[in-house]
């Protein structure tokens, strides 16, 4: 029998709805798991035990009274520590905000709570979703449950580690250049960067306003669908928010994938200086799985990955520096080394360079959409190989291989990272599924179909 902490979110939801599982018992199972493991994983910077148990008791009472709110009712989640939480410390993993206790919830936290979710606590992050994995911050860096010597990716590092290790049923993350998809891939779980504008960013500490996107991480694509359902919705207080009609994601993902047309973007990762042979082979195997499900797979040619990377870096560095400059100049010592030095690099991007990067971004977006004509989805690598070791982390990782995730931050398209197998080192490998703007449902459906057809969701970290 599956342990409570290893139930998928969807399975736990079904059991709660059928009154076969108590939200209190489920919350206690996660709290016990956190108490047993988090001194090694450091996925949480704050555990809100009493608040979580109180919320679980409320959920149980409401459900017993026939007031079931839906699939997140009584489900324990972790919240990335850049999301404001009313009455609960929100530090962005930084000394700068070490005593910051917001009075209001971020809009997506409010929505998750309204759906009945139980907040277990706040997850570790790279400082301000940018400076990590750094070892001079007020809290330790989260570790990868598949191997503690490796990073869980970032910046939603605690979210990835916690979901994979069974320290919560799901989590919130944010993705400016890959910060949901990187930890999802490194930790062998699912994480979706939704379409830009679909999920409100109000109350989430900004890194780069024109790129920042909020979304969920969970064990499966189906679990992400449930979380996304609660998080989406127009918010007039977020200037980027779009009033879009959204489908029932959990229903949509059950539709068959046969007949879909997919473009594989091999030139992003295959060939010399690309992904490891192991990663390339696992992606080819995944494409074979989809072909067997009736999917048509063709080659897709997008602009060069390095072009997206260059535009993305100019925009992100420039916007992040603008956000942080006043504090950086007043109290640089309150930032960790990685944040301090990375943020300062943004000072060197001129206004003209920033503007040209935004022009280039539009051109790249138009070329990407053009390359998708006649296609429903794109598939490409999510990482070049195994998660890096902590010892390999560098202050400026931007000048090696271009980031595989950045293109879809620039274009605003939905992008889901899922596990596509394991290397000989026992560490997860991952790929990205990319859809058209606001077609997040097809992206999740495609991921769900793959997860149903493969054994990877049955393997958990050996921690």
């Amino acid at each position: 029998m599956t342990s409570l902490h290893h139930l998928t979110l969807a399975a736990a939801a079904r059991a709660i709805a059928a009154r076969e599982l108590s939200p209190i018992a489920l919350t206690e199972a996660y709290l016990n798991r956190i108490a047993a493991l988090d001194n090694r994983l450091h996925a949480y910077v704050l555990v809100a035990k009493e608040e979580a148990l109180a919320a679980a008791r409320r959920a149980e009472a409401e459900i017993a009274a026939g007031k079931y709110r839906g699939p997140l009712h009584g489900i324990p989640l972790g919240i990335k520590d850049i999301y404001e939480t009313a009455g609960m410390r929100t530090t962005c993993h930084s000394r700068l905000l070490i005593d910051h206790v917001p009075t209001e919830d971020a809009e997506s936290v409010r929505r998750l709570k309204a759906a009945g979710a139980v907040v277990l606590g706040k997850h570790a992050t790279h400082e301000f979703a940018f400076g990590g994995p750094s070892h001079d911050l007020p809290f330790p860096a989260a570790r990868n449950p598949w191997n503690l010597e490796h990073t869980p990716g970032g910046s939603s590092s605690g979210a990835g580690a916690a979901v994979a290790a069974g320290l919560c049923a799901g989590a919130t993350g944010s993705d400016t250049g890959g910060s949901i998809r990187s930890p999802a891939g490194n930790c062998g779980i699912a994480g979706i960067k939704p379409t830009y504008g679909l999920v409100s960013r109000r109350g989430v500490f900004p890194l780069s306003h024109t790129l920042d996107t909020c979304g969920p991480l969970a064990w499966t694509s189906e679990d992400c669908a449930h979380l996304l359902q609660a998080m989406v919705g127009f918010d007039p207080a977020d200037p980027a928010s779009v009033e879009a009609s959204t489908p029932d994601y959990a229903n949509e993902i059950r539709k068959p994938v046969s007949g879909l047309r997919v473009g594989v973007v091999r030139h992003f990762y295959a060939g010399r200086d690309g992904a490891s042979a192991e990663t390339v082979a696992l992606i080819e195997q995944a494409l074979g799985v989809w072909r067997d499900l009736g999917v048509s797979v063709v080659e897709a040619i997008l602009p060069e990955l390095a072009d997206y990377h260059a535009a993305g870096r100019a925009i992100l560095l420039s916007e992040a520096y603008a956000v942080h400059k006043p504090h950086m100049h007043r109290t640089p010592e309150l930032y960790g080394q990685y944040s301090r030095e990375r943020l300062r690099l943004g000072a060197f991007v001129t206004g003209e360079e920033y503007y040209q990067a935004q022009r280039f971004r539009r051109a790249l977006t138009e070329r990407t959409l053009s390359a998708m004509e006649g296609l429903d989805l794109l598939v490409t690598a999510n990482a070049y190989g195994a998660p890096e070791r902590f010892a390999e982390a560098s202050i400026f990782p931007y000048f090696g291989k271009p980031y595989l995730s950045t293109p879809f931050n620039l274009t605003g398209q939905p992008a889901l990272a899922i596990c596509c197998g394991f290397g000989e080192d026992g560490l997860p490998r991952s790929l990205q599924i990319v859809g058209r703007a606001f077609d997040d449902a097809t992206v999740l459906r495609f991921g769900h179909a793959y997860e149903q057809a493969t054994p990877w969701r049955g393997r958990r970290p050996p921690i």
Binding site: V242, A310, A347, F348, R362, E366, Y398, F399, A437, F438
Partner: protein, 72 residues
């Protein structure tokens, strides 16, 4: 990090002063190397000769009917 765009330590120090960046010598060395690599990366971004190309806006996804609906 290597590039043909080099900058001397002295010139970089002037640049940092203009930007009001106060750095330790070690930080300055690391940032100068990163600056050179960043300049090389930024050269990939085209500078259009025509006046008209627009920058990306955050409010509309090109080709999105939903964005068009929002504008109405």
């Amino acid at each position: 990090m290597s590039s043909s765009t080099e900058i001397s330590a002295e010139d970089f120090a002037v640049l940092c002063r203009r930007l009001e960046l106060v750095l330790t010598p070690e930080e300055a060395d690391r940032l100068r190397a990163a600056y050179v690599a960043l300049q090389a990366q930024l050269r990939r971004i085209p500078r259009p000769e025509t006046y008209f190309p627009e920058p990306a806006t955050v409010y509309a996804h090109p080709g999105s009917t939903l964005a068009a609906e929002k504008r109405r």
